[in-house]
């Protein structure tokens, strides 16, 4: 099986470390790209700014997106991902602390594929990440796979 690219958009370094740990525990082979705010995330995805020159046609297989981010927040990032031809089909899983109803509604209406609440209990969180990876990177058939060839 090909190695997959998981993009983690997360501004909190502790959450970043714990999420990476959880993801690595389940599958050490996947490449994890971290963006620390919305601007960095979009730059990476579209090969702009600090990522200018990056081949934007190579998109992550899964984006784990936090909502509360500096500069450009998660909802705006999601909107940009969904309106750009190159990224509109990439699975986006919202990974957040919030369970506010309006966040949920807005994320789904903007085209999020899934909404996961980060639990405080790390063991639970790791199990969730395991299921998430299994589902989106293994079970789920992505709309386009030819780019990896």
């Amino acid at each position: 099986m090909d190695n997959k690219i998981i993009m983690l958009v997360e501004d909190n370094p502790n959450d970043e470390a714990l999420t990476i740990r959880a993801l690595k525990k389940n599958n050490d082979m996947n490449e994890i790209v971290v963006a620390h705010d919305g601007v960095e995330a979009l730059n990476y995805l579209f090969g702009e700014g600090s990522y200018s020159g990056r081949d934007a046609s190579i998109t992550p297989d899964l984006i784990l997106l936090d909502l509360k981010l500096p500069r450009i927040n998660g909802l705006e990032v999601l909107k940009s991902i969904r309106t750009d031809e190159r990224t509109k089909l990439v699975p986006v899983v919202i990974l957040t602390s919030s369970k506010e109803k309006r966040d949920l509604t807005e994320c789904y209406s903007l085209g999020a594929n899934s909404y996961i609440r980060k639990t405080v209990n790390f063991v639970e969180f790791r199990n969730t990440m395991e299921q998430l990876g299994l589902y989106w990177l293994v079970l789920n058939v992505a709309p386009e796979n030819e780019k990896k060839a």
Binding site: L67, E100, T119, N121, F125
Partner: protein
Amino acid sequence: MTVRRKALIISGTMLSILLASLYGICSLSLSTGYMIGAFFAFGVGFLALFLLLIDKLLLSGFNHVSDLSDIIRDIGESRDISKRISIKGNDELSKLGAAINRMMTELQASQDLLRRSEEKNLAMLNAMPDSICQIRKDGTVEGYKPAKDDCLPFIAAEAVGKKLSELMPQKISELAIGHMKKVLQNNSMQVFTYSIHRKGEWHNYEARMVGGSKDVVLMIVRDITEQKRAEAALIKEKEEVEKKTHQLQVYVNELEAFSYSVSHDLRAPLRSIDGFSQVLLEDYNDKLDDEGKDYLQRVRSASQHMAELIDDLLNLSRVTRCEMGSTNVDLSALAKTIAEEFQQKEPERDVQFSITPGLVVRGDANLLRVALENLLGNAWKFSGKREHARIEMGYARNNGRSAYFVRDNGAGFNMDYTDKLFGVFQRLHSDKEFEGTGIGLATVQRIISRHGGTIWAEGAVGRGATFYFRL
């Protein structure tokens, strides 16, 4: 006897005497004694017959006509229609007299009716809080009924005979005359308002002008000072309410922002505490003794407990501030679903649920679900140490009131502490016995009171608890 009647009799008598004398003179000239006697006797008899005829045929008629004209003139002069013509005979004139009498009776009845109606109208007019002025085309006040209380529409109290320009400030009298012209031209009603400064304060008036008779208009004026004052007060109050509502909205928005921040930011450090404690337990397992591991577990469970507290507090504030819907909510079906969820989570437990079907109430489905989750959750939790737990939900009478209830045969509580049951952070059990945040029942109470209902509880230590609520 009237003069005319006397004249008639005298003239009649004189005519008879004249005729008799002429006859007598003619008789004397014949100089025949025999003939004198005979003719004199004949003459006297003729006169008597003549007088009788006059009296019977003519004078009686003359008497009736004059009586009639006398009484009619009398009525006309005195305007007293209670007088009647006395009827003596059955001739044509008497019939006429009777007809006039009948007419007078009817006239009297309709006049009575008119008077009563006028009295009523006048009483109504006097009772009206309005001033009523009749104004001639040239602006002179012709008639004036001032309002009862001290709210005269003019500067002066005496208005009759004066011109509007003398009774009102120039601008207002011009306004009134302008409207009066329109009324007289189109026969339309005109409404206008004006203010007059009287006795140290401003009075507001509303005037309605309608056409009266030709070249006269009626101006009905009402003092609307109080009304205006009340309106102004109402507007001010409304503005204040709006201001307060706006302020409240600002607070609510702030609170929402705060809650959002709490739910987001307060949990992040807890995740780190729990997560890195777990990392320590995993990566440094061989370097930690049992005590060290135990401490780390305590750190983890404390952070998880705090996460629950945050969630429950957020729930509580959400329950208080969210908008309420109103639909038919099937409590029985809701309770059944919740019960199934509990049983799925802890399938090893032996809990018998008994839920009366068809308990439908009107309320907010989401809030009622939260309330039932808490009540049934408590029943589930506090019956956790029973080998055969039993949880009931139904509708029954308690303390003379019909109410919905959730009952369990769990740990129960001491009735001495009933007042603490629904307080925020109030707990009747230690965490060691039963875990909890002490926010659940406070949340339930808020939901019930937001529905305009009440909640109360009965229980005994070791003998279960029953929570009753009315919506």
